[in-house]
């Protein structure tokens, strides 16, 4: 059988898959809406900006220079739909421990401590450090407060900001979007490939296809091409939604994003094939799928950074391919880095794709 013939057969399978998908309206909706819903819910619900976040300023300064700083924070209404971001309360003579307890009680999202020698040091042009306590349990709000304070302190001068327990200064949405794309592609490619094959096994249609002169290689190739088209289309929709609905900004190369997603999709397709060869029907597949993809969703740093989870969990995360896809996507999309910065991720993802894909093809050929 010639290569041309194999490719032609593969394309027939691809077209069949697309046609089947187009008939499954009930599947199309979640397939394309799921990523958009994720972005909107997480983008607006957890990311974006804050409104009227209560801030306490403990001003122990004995001089007058702190007045301008306080005024600036208080007047900051960097409007979000006309609402000021912060509601500021002022006090003095409060210890750091007491301030922390106020945060613990949920009264304030952040407390800024201005030392008693603030004006004195400023006049002498000595270094002076302000302390910012934030509510680490609300990373979104504290992240925004921190980034605002840092901006404020970043002008030339001796004033610096000390932020205990820094969580990060990214907006949550920026952090989230690249990983949600990777997650969506991963769960989508594993689930749709595996369930399609498990479904064909259940219906017996796969046997009919395998009885024709078409090679098993062509069957797999056809299904893979279909997955690449489907998953990249989902990624595009997701990126457009993130851009237009919640204002995500892309800093890196689209080509690299496509490269990472293509390799990752191949790995997902391979994993779907491997899992589908272990089961005889759709229901078993979905249970198996849950077992493998759900942990990935929670411990590979999609929703919170890897640095914030316990060590033992991080070691598990390092065994999961989604961890590397997340890292690669963030490195490209947020940090705007090039190929060399993601080379380790790419090597691991390529290995993942090679292993799952070749064992998928092997198991699929041995079966039926």
């Amino acid at each position: 059988m010639t290569v041309k013939n194999e490719l032609r057969h593969a394309w027939i399978i691809t077209v069949k898959e697309i046609r089947q998908l187009s008939r499954k309206k009930a599947l199309m909706v979640p397939l394309f809406l799921f990523p958009i819903i994720m972005i909107i819910f997480f983008g607006y619900g957890m990311g974006g900006t804050v409104k009227n976040a209560p801030i306490l300023i403990v001003n122990d300064d004995t001089g007058t220079d702190s007045a301008s700083l306080i005024q600036e924070i208080g007047a900051y209404t960097s409007s979000y739909n006309g609402n000021p971001m912060f509601t500021v309360t002022y006090t003095r003579d409060m210890s750091q421990a007491e301030a922390e307890s106020k945060i613990d009680a949920g009264i304030y999202k952040a407390v800024l401590l201005i030392p008693h020698d603030y004006s004195e040091r400023l006049i002498k042009n000595d270094d002076v450090t302000l302390t910012l306590l934030t509510d680490a349990s609300d990373p979104t709000t504290s992240g925004i407060i921190i980034s605002f304070m840092q901006q404020l302190m970043s002008r030339p001068g001796p004033v610096s900001l000390d932020i205990p327990n820094i969580y990060g200064n990214l907006e949550y949405l920026d952090f989230l979007t690249p990983a949600v794309i990777a997650l969506t592609i991963f769960m989508g490619s594993v689930a749709t490939t595996g369930s399609a094959i498990a479904g064909e096994k259940e219906d017996g249609t796969i046997v009919r296809i395998l009885m024709t002169p078409v090679s098993r290689r062509s069957v797999i190739l056809g299904k893979t091409i279909y997955q690449l088209i489907l998953q990249l289309a989902r990624a595009v929709i997701l990126i457009l939604a993130a851009y237009f609905l919640v204002g995500f900004h892309m800093n890196g190369s689209w080509l690299l994003v496509a490269l990472v997603l293509t390799i990752f999709t191949l790995g997902g397709v391979g994993m779907g094939i491997v899992m589908s060869t272990r089961v005889d029907d759709m229901e078993s597949f979905f249970q198996l799928n849950l077992l493998f993809t759900l942990p990935s969703m929670f411990i590979t740093g999609v929703f919170f950074p890897l640095s914030s989870i316990p060590d033992w969990m991080r070691y598990i995360a390092y065994c999961l391919p989604l961890t590397y896809a997340n890292d690669a996507m963030r490195t490209i999309m947020i940090k705007g880095q090039g190929l060399s910065a993601i080379s380790t991720d790419l090597i691991i993802l390529t290995l993942f794709a090679l292993i799952t894909f070749s064992s998928g093809v092997h198991l699929f050929r041995r079966e039926a």
């Binding site: 059988m1 013939n5 057969h9 027939i12 069949k16 046609r19 089947q20 008939r23 499954k24 219906d203 017996g204 249609t205 046997v207 009919r208 296809i209 395998l210 009885m211 024709t212 002169p213 078409v214 039926a368």
Partner: protein, 249 residues
């Protein structure tokens, strides 16, 4: 008549959880060109395994099979275009229309487009499904699916048609129409290989019948000769006397 399928010393052993299962045990027979050949046997007799080996889906453990002169080990790619298979599971894509299901099979068998269109129209009319050509097969009745499934198997004009339990679960009208169709294909020179549980159908329609039991071929002859040898006028009695009366798992 010349043999179109030659089976020699065929064995198939499966290994399942440390157990060795001999599904087919040293079976040899020929199927002649142009005959209607039936395979009967209780559950687990090895019919389906032989069926899968004849249709290139499963490789034998030992022994040889030649289909239309081609070896199943080395030339399965040459065998597939000359055989048509109607599987027991009707295996149609429920979200494709009758016509799309047929076109898919036609394309995978490399039937030229014009010829394919012509044949689809002809066969849909032959089995009375022309008016359902553009309906999704998900809504088809068992009989309609069986008829469509047959066309899927013959679009590429195969020399041999393998038919796994063609009438199981169908009403008498559909069964009649299926056998009429089988007779028609046979009259056009095609060889037909069936498996069935219905003794009456094996008796009425098959030129020769192979009776399998526990992986072995226990009898092979024309239904009439089998009955004469056993001194019975009923093929079912012959079958029970050869394979035993106990119920199989």
């Amino acid at each position: 008549m010349n043999p179109i399928i030659e089976v020699r010393d065929l064995r198939k052993i499966f290994h399942s959880r440390g157990r060795k299962i001999i599904a087919v045990d040293d079976v040899s027979f020929d199927i002649m060109e142009g005959e209607i050949f039936g395979m009967i046997g209780p559950n687990g007799a090895g019919k389906s395994t032989i069926f899968s080996m004849l249709t290139t889906l499963v490789k034998p453990t030992s022994g040889s099979i030649k289909v239309a002169g081609f070896d199943v080990y080395k030339q399965d790619g040459k065998i597939r275009p000359v055989i048509g298979i109607v599987p027991q599971k009707l295996s149609l894509y429920p979200d494709l229309t009758a016509k799309e299901n047929l076109e898919l099979m036609g394309m995978l068998y490399d039937v030229p487009k014009n010829l394919m269109e012509e044949r689809i129209e002809y066969y849909l009319k032959l089995v009375g499904l022309s008016s359902h050509a553009n309906r999704y097969t998900g809504g088809f009745s068992g009989g309609m699916k069986q008829r469509l499934s047959v066309i899927c198997a013959v679009l590429h004009d195969p020399q041999i048609i393998f038919w796994d339990e063609p009438t199981t679960g169908l009403d008498p009208q559909t069964r009649q129409s299926i056998w009429k169709l089988a007779k028609k294909f046979n009259s056009e020179g095609k060889t037909l290989v069936f498996t069935t549980h219905y003794m009456e159908e094996a008796n009425n329609f098959c030129d020769r019948v192979a009776i399998m039991n526990l992986g072995k071929l226990v009898a092979l002859d024309a239904p009439q000769s089998l009955k004469e040898k056993a001194g019975s006028d009923n093929l079912e009695d012959v079958f029970i006397s050869l394979t035993g009366a106990e119920v199989r798992d």
